[in-house]
């Protein structure tokens, strides 16, 4: 675990100094919020689930931007070979990259969600602590699959183009659940109305952290 934390710290420090991923993620996410607002019709009253859909599309599309970079960055100057040569288990690299993706997403969301409430109305800003829980659970699901898949696409000719093509079909159920639960929160529904879907979101994260943990090694060693 110590190795994973060290690698994650290195990535976060590099990001803190250059701010390339976070800035483009936040900018793109914000841009999408505005574009989707225009798409549904400016000034239209949205119901909770529709608003939740807009929020999640913006978050997921912006998250893919950061995701593509986290592993392809290591490919430049073949840093990944050095990492694999060093006495670090591939699983540790996976854990580190997943953590970094998770943190990138969380930081971007910390800007995007308030921006969402500003643009779409703060009447949706109910049950905020629960919203944070949902968002973090979805982030786990997204970054566990996302890290595995970005390791795959980093080894192909069409890295950035291919990533959403592979990732989105697999995370569609996660997105559907996130929209459902977040829509419930926006409508201020009681916990028992959406709790069963929340468990499925948690299960998604759990299952794919297992899948990623087991399979990442095979992908990264081929790179």
């Amino acid at each position: 675990m110590r190795d994973a934390l060290l690698i994650a710290r290195k990535d976060l420090l590099a990001e803190y100094r250059k701010k390339e991923s976070i800035v483009s993620m936040v900018f793109f996410g914000f841009l999408l919020l505005v574009m989707l607002n225009i798409a549904v019709g400016v000034g239209r009253e949205l119901d909770g689930e529709m608003a939740a859909g807009i929020l999640w599309v913006s978050i997921i599309f912006s998250a893919v931007l950061g995701l593509g970079r986290v592993l392809s960055k290591e490919k430049e100057n073949r840093c990944i070979d050095a990492l694999l040569l060093s006495p670090v288990e591939p699983e540790q690299i996976y854990a580190a990259k997943t953590m970094v993706n998770f943190i990138f997403m969380a930081v971007a969301e910390a800007v995007l969600i308030p921006a969402f409430f500003v643009l779409y109305g703060d009447r949706f800003a109910r049950q905020v602590p629960m919203l944070v829980v949902v968002v973090l659970l979805v982030n786990i699901g997204f970054s566990t699959v996302g890290t595995l898949f970005s390791a795959i696409t980093a080894g192909t000719r069409r890295n950035e183009v291919l990533l959403p093509l592979l990732l989105f079909p697999v995370i569609t159920p996660l997105m559907a659940l996130a929209v459902k639960v977040t829509g419930g929160l926006f409508e201020d529904l009681p916990y028992r109305e959406y709790s069963s879907w929340l468990y499925v979101i948690a299960a998604f994260g759990l299952i794919f952290s297992g899948v990623g943990y087991l399979l990442f090694e095979f992908v990264i060693k081929e790179g």
């Binding site: 697999v170 569609t172 559907a176 081929e222």
Partner: protein, 227 residues
């Protein structure tokens, strides 16, 4: 060359099975009272759906076997299986739509089964796209194996999450009973056998072509390296 007879006999067997399946569907099985002739698509629809799932399951198992054994033949089996599976899942979706239009009065609805089939279609088409984007053989095999495993693991989650939407899909086969006429069950069995034999024929052709290609490339390299 000694299995030449078997190679030629298999397509004939598949053809005969399909003829008997068609006969059973249109002349043996009774026409459903409410839905009428449209219901007959059910035999083909269910058989294709089953065959598609089988293909993806085989790709999943081949993926695991490739990663543990590193034998390229498992990659050939897995990719051939996915290719056939994509054809069958597409046809499942299309035949379902043909049935749904007169019966549900809509081509498409967000039902768990329909949604699951559609997402499966997306996952395995992306698998085929991935295959075209990696040149190096072993790398491609490893990536595709991982995607086949991750995609298949996703299936139960897709199905669970698709329960968000209400179901209107008929449930014909339950764990304890089958809700149709015995003659319809027999017809279904014949159709299913026909499709499974067709799957096997396609799988055999596909894998033998792929393995022959590899063999030729290997020999070419050997000739070039030799002089």
């Amino acid at each position: 060359m000694d299995n030449g007879f078997k190679d030629r006999a298999l397509p004939v067997v598949v053809g005969l099975l399909f003829l008997s399946a068609l006969y059973a569907i249109f002349f043996y099985a009774p026409t459903e009272r409410v839905m009428g002739i449209v219901q007959k698509v059910f035999y083909v629809h269910l058989s294709m759906a089953f065959t598609a799932f089988l293909s993806f399951f085989i790709a999943f198992v081949s993926g695991i076997l490739y990663l543990t054994r590193k034998d390229i033949k498992w990659d050939v089996y897995g990719s051939s299986s996915v290719e056939i599976g994509v054809v069958f899942i597409s046809l499942t979706l299309l035949s379902g739509m043909l049935w749904a239009r007169p019966i549900w009065n809509t081509w498409w609805t967000w039902d768990p089964r329909l949604t699951t089939a559609l997402i499966l279609w997306f996952i395995y088409v992306s698998y085929l796209i991935l295959r075209t984007s990696v040149e190096q053989e072993e790398r491609r095999a490893a990536y595709c194996a991982v995607l086949a495993i991750a995609g298949f693991v996703d299936v139960p989650i897709v199905f669970m999450s698709a329960r968000i939407w209400r179901t209107i899909h008929p449930v014909v086969i339950r764990s304890d009973s089958i809700d149709i006429e015995p003659s319809m069950i027999l017809t279904l069995m014949i159709t299913l056998t026909a499709f499974l034999s067709l799957w096997f024929l396609l799988f055999k052709l596909k894998t033998s072509v792929a393995l022959t290609c590899k063999r030729i490339r290997f020999l070419e390299n050997k000739i070039e390296g030799g002089d």
